[in-house]
């Protein structure tokens, strides 16, 4: 595939991500922060997000399988997850976190569990999308172009 096609593909893919609500304006902000002095900023932040989120999700899974569920702790994790996802603009993950917190307040175990599934689902989706996006980026850079 030649450079122009790659670039067009990149643009289309990015647009679709926005249109489908996977990413929001915050992601644009991140991209703006990337410059010559900070060339891999976005990748770094997103990678950190992946690490962070996986950790939190594991914790949540564990907490919900307990006998006595500590809603406060769950809430704290969800809060963190929400914060991270909103920081990078993972809109759908953030939305699910908000729902999760609602159920937490109600101390609705079933609701929480269901929500956790949703969050995980969304997280996986956005992770895949972002990874694809980065791959495309690398391909373009390899082909000699720029974003």
């Amino acid at each position: 595939m030649d450079l122009v096609q790659l670039q067009r593909q990149f643009v289309d893919y990015t647009t679709s991500l926005f249109n489908e609500g996977f990413l929001d304006d915050q992601f644009n902000q991140l991209q703006q922060l990337q410059d010559e002095s900070n060339p891999d900023f976005v990748v770094e932040v997103v990678s950190l997000f992946f690490e962070d989120s996986e950790r939190h999700l594991n914790e949540l899974t564990q907490s919900l399988e307990q006998q006595n569920i500590d809603f406060k702790r769950i809430d704290a994790h969800v809060h963190q997850l929400k914060g991270s996802s909103s920081s990078i603009g993972a809109q759908r993950v953030q939305k699910e976190c908000i729902n999760f917190r609602g159920y937490c307040e109600e101390k609705n175990i079933e609701g929480c569990r269901k929500c956790l599934q949703q969050v995980k689902h969304e997280y996986v989706l956005v992770k895949n999308k972002l990874e694809t996006l980065f791959k495309l980026e690398q391909q373009i850079i390899a082909a000699g172009g720029s974003i």
Partner: protein
């Protein structure tokens, strides 16, 4: 007798005769001697006498004659020879002289005679000159009288005074018995006795104008002698013994403004002119006659009177016109002052009402928003939200009313500036997005490629207009789609028959933006369309949908201010409608156009250091969030230190840090405590860093933050621009509280 040498007389002396001769001779001698003496005496007295030589001759002649006669006395008696010789010599001399004189006289007497003739001639001439002098004097008198009369007449511009004065002065100058003026009546068929000299109030009786005597007088501009018995001259009751004096009548032209037609000047016929008749009567029984110079005087006076009267008439007219104008002026002035007072009163009222209305509105809105942030039950929250919505609607209405009144005054002026035209449309779309998604309407924006990105105009009011039009389209559509089309109007499309009195003039610096908003909503019936733009007029459908009815009226005013036109078309009820407007916008110069798109990019891509070296401490438990905030600040050139917990924050915070950005997640707790501890650490105000709370949580309130001594609260997510703005505000004002 002895020879005594005496001469004997020839004849014997007759005693008596001789005595007489003796006496006569004596007297002759006396006279002859005295005559020259007298002559000499009187000639000496008179300065001028050309004939001295003749006088001498004559004197000599007389003296000698006298001597002769004197000597003759001696010859009556016996006388000596000497006496006889003397006598003879005397006689001889006398003869010589007398002959000489006689000869001289032949020359002189014709001269003397001619002197006489000349004298006679001169005397005649003198008499003639005297006569002429008399004439000239009379004329000069007349002239003086005329001048005086004229002066009297012209010294006043009041018509009655003029006429009265004329009669009086004429009467005085010419020593008239009676003087009268007959004026034509309104109908022009009769002459009415208007003024007389002697009678105080003329009876006012009339004569028909067609009388032959009157026609005769009117036909010439000379004074005409008329009979004292003619009806116009019967001014005084004539007692038997009076022989009426001679009467003269003259016409007085009554000039009217319409007579002064320059074209007609040479053709003024007497039929179009009106005349008055002046009748002058000499004293009865005076045997005075009208002299030529007197008649001339009368004619001149009549003309002067005519001129004076016309002047008086013109002056009257102009005075009347001026009075009228002054009245009108006064009335207009009053009206203007009243209008001004009314406008001022209205403006004052509006200003006061505006202020009075805004104050409670402000209180309501502010307190309602504050109320929103407290703990409320869902019903209470709903109520508060409704209160907020209603009060902001009311605030908008107040603004609209004020705007409209300022618009109508003409006191509103557009605030021109260069702005991004595309972003105005995008902004409008964003603003209507919530309602649109609720109503499940589809909104499409079609911006033609020739619409420039930047334009010069009043951005705020243009947006208001577009928003109002689009808002209306959204309001009145229950379902379907709304299409917004914008393009640059070309000159052919500018000549729109639907707007016949709109004449756009395209020019180099401006373009006409054509915006069309088409909806598939309720539509408008054709008879309602004209009412749409009148303020406060609402049709049935709009009444139900709310709104004050001012929106379109204001839009129309704005569009007109932008030298454009707005109109609405609809195919009928239920068939949707299209709102179209044209506005004139300026084209920014090429320089500006190329500058703008680059500027934001420049800042973004090159991370322009707005705050070089500003030491900031970022505290955030969440790693991702921490990294993002750090990235933001680094991009702005700050020197960032990050910590992930409160204790670490307290440990790391130092004098060098100017700002502490701390993430406050859970309401209350850590964040606030840290703030308080920082305050404790830095007692001096200028050493303490500015503490700003970052939160994605709306439950963190301004008051809570302020209570613990924070300097600001910012809501996440933060864009780069927002961070930049926040930092600059913070550093400038040392406080920042974003409206939440």
């Amino acid at each position: 007798m002895e020879s005594c040498n005496c001469i004997e007389p020839q004849w014997p002396a007759d005693e008596l005769l001789i005595k007489y001769q003796y006496i006569s001779d004596f007297f002759i001698a006396l006279a002859y001697f005295s005559i020259p003496l007298e002559l000499i005496y009187f000639v000496k007295k008179s300065a001028v006498f050309p004939y001295r030589w003749v006088l001498v001759q004559f004197g000599a002649f007389i003296v000698l004659c006298g001597a002769t006669h004197l000597i003759n006395l001696w010859t009556f008696t016996m006388h000596t020879r000497t006496v006889a010789i003397v006598m003879t010599t005397a006689k001889v001399f006398t003869a010589v002289v007398s002959c000489a004189t006689a000869l001289m006289l032949v020359h002189i007497i014709p001269d003397l005679l001619s002197v006489k003739t000349r004298e006679l001639f001169l005397k005649n001439k003198a008499a003639e000159l005297d006569r002429e002098m008399g004439l000239i004097r009379t004329q000069e008198e007349t002239g003086r009288h005329v001048r005086m009369l004229t002066h009297e007449i012209r010294s006043t511009l009041d018509r009655h005074t003029i006429l009265k004065t004329t009669l009086v002065e004429l009467g005085r100058t010419l020593a008239l018995e009676e003087c009268a003026l007959w004026m034509p009546t309104r109908t022009g068929l009769e002459l009415q006795l208007s003024y007389t000299l002697r009678q105080q109030n003329p009876v006012g009786y009339t004569v028909p104008i067609q009388l032959p005597v009157i026609s005769q007088v009117f036909s010439t501009n000379h004074a005409v002698k008329i009979s004292p018995n003619s009806p116009v001259a019967k001014l005084r009751p004539i007692a038997g013994k009076y022989v009426p004096g001679e009467v003269v009548a003259v016409r007085v032209p009554l000039l009217h403004l319409s007579n002064f037609q320059i074209n007609d000047w040479p053709e003024l016929s007497s039929s179009t002119k009106r005349y008055a008749l002046m009748v002058l009567m000499l004293p009865s029984d005076s045997a005075r006659q009208w002299h030529v110079h007197e008649l001339e005087l009368v004619e001149v006076v009549a003309d002067q009177v005519a001129v004076a009267l016309s002047h008086a008439a013109i002056l009257e007219e102009s005075m009347r016109a001026r009075d009228l104008l002054m009245e009108q002026n006064v009335a207009l002035d009053l009206a203007r002052r009243e209008a001004e007072t009314a406008i001022r009163a209205r403006n004052d009222f509006l200003a006061v009402m505006n202020h009075e209305m805004r104050t409670p509105m402000h209180a309501i809105i502010a307190l309602a928003s504050l109320l929103q942030e407290t703990d409320l039950t869902p019903e209470q929250r709903l109520m508060v939200e409704t209160i907020l919505k209603s009060s902001s609607l009311l605030a908008t209405l107040i603004n609209d009313v004020l705007d409209l009144s300022r618009l109508e005054d003409g006191s509103l002026q557009l605030e021109l500036g260069t702005f991004n035209l595309h972003s105005v449309f995008r902004e409008v779309l964003n603003l209507v997005k919530p309602i649109v998604s609720v109503k499940k309407l589809l909104v499409t924006l079609n911006l033609a490629p020739d619409v420039p990105e930047y334009a010069i105009g009043d951005e705020k009011r243009l947006m208001q207009t577009i928003l109002n039009v689009v808002g209306n389209a959204v309001k009145f559509s229950k379902e379907g789609s709304i299409t917004i089309t914008a393009f640059v109007a070309k000159s052919e499309s500018l000549r729109d028959t639907r707007a016949p009195d709109f004449f756009p003039i395209p020019s180099d610096n401006h373009f006409y933006l054509h915006v069309q908003v088409k909806d598939s909503g309720a539509g408008i019936s054709p008879q309602d369309i004209p009412k749409l733009f009148t303020k406060f007029a609402q049709t049935q459908s709009t009444k139900n949908s709310g709104g004050s009815g001012l929106g379109l009226a204001i839009c129309k005013r704005f569009v007109n201010l932008m030298e454009g036109n707005i109109w609405i078309e609809s195919d009928g009820i239920g068939k949707g409608c299209t709102a179209i407007f044209l506005v004139k916008l300026g084209i920014p110069e090429r320089l500006n156009e190329s500058k703008f798109p680059f500027m934001p990019k420049v800042l973004a891509t090159h991370g322009q250091a707005n705050f070089p070296g500003l030491k900031v401490l970022v505290m955030d438990e969440n790693g991702v969030s921490r990294m993002v905030t750090k990235g933001l600040l680094v991009n702005l050139g700050c020197d960032v230190t990050t910590v992930s917990s409160g204790e670490e924050c307290l440990r790391m915070v130092s004098l060098e840090h100017k700002v502490v950005l701390m993430d406050v997640c859970v309401p209350g707790k850590d964040g606030y405590e840290i703030a308080i501890r920082i305050h404790e650490k830095f007692t001096k105000r200028h050493e303490r860093p500015l503490i700003v709370a970052l939160t994605g949580n709306t439950e963190v309130t301004k008051d809570n933050c302020m209570r613990v001594g924070m300097d600001g609260v910012i809501l996440k997510p933060i864009s780069l621009d927002k961070m930049r703005g926040v930092l600059s505000d913070l550093l400038e004002h040392r406080v920042l509280f974003e409206a939440m």
